[in-house]
Subunit: 148 residues, 2 copies
């Protein structure tokens, strides 16, 4: 499960993608729009800045904005920054690998299964970007008369 922090991060990023090219956006605006506790959001945005996803401007007219084009930041990257490993066990993680103490990977059926899960997951998360978060009409309204 995603933490709330990561969930908020993605919501905030969604907002920033939608406002991309509109200049810096206030923390307070995002907090209000997305109903995220302001001070908590501060932490999150700061963390996203420190890891290179966002940039900010202080003073009047300041705020947060995406450092790069939306399509240049992978979902997987944000994920790892906020929640850490994507894999289900350290012994199958690419970025946070740690050897199992009690089991030999060579003979561990669970390891195999979780590697498959990891690869399937990464195949998605590494190939989607912030651009994919933005609002899009998935159910185009078909301007039909209601029956009867």
């Amino acid at each position: 499960m995603l933490t709330k922090k990561a969930y908020y991060a993605f919501q905030a990023l969604t907002h920033l993608v939608e406002k991309y090219n509109d200049g810096p956006v206030l923390i307070s605006e995002i907090a209000e729009q997305k109903k995220i506790p302001l001070k908590f959001l501060e932490n999150i945005l700061l963390q996203l800045k420190n890891t290179g996803v966002l940039d900010s401007k202080k003073g009047k007219g300041g705020g947060y904005f995406l450092k790069n084009k939306p399509s240049d930041t992978r979902i997987a990257t944000v994920f790892r920054m906020i929640d850490g490993p994507i894999a289900m066990l350290p012994c199958v993680s690419l970025y946070f690998y740690q050897r199992c103490e009690n089991c030999n990977e060579k003979f561990c059926g669970l390891h195999d299964i979780l590697v498959e899960v990891r690869d399937a997951t990464l195949n998605i998360l590494e190939n989607r970007t912030l651009a994919d978060l933005a609002l899009k009409d998935k159910n185009p309204v078909l301007h039909l008369k209601p029956y009867s």
Copy 2:
């Protein structure tokens, strides 16, 4: 990430798969073999019994054993029993669904992405069973002479 509880559960199940047909296995044997704290393992096995994966026998000659054939219990099932939802957000969970409060699924890019992840993950976890946990030689030794 899996909890330790789930990890222990899978280790214990692996042992029980390997001893399938050998009759009941003592908790203490599993605990020792897999280096799992005994009392913690008790809880775990009991939970697996109460949810229908394992069965047990008391008294001398007793112990735990698989209730069904290894190939009849899906990995996904065990997963859900111990750690709960497999999906990354409640709003994309099949078994633990809960609506998002702040976002409209119809217009949420994140939702789409996480549905994909869920499907890819389940495709694996629902199609692997306890039988896949068991020890198998993945790197067959090629009886070659060491060079020189």
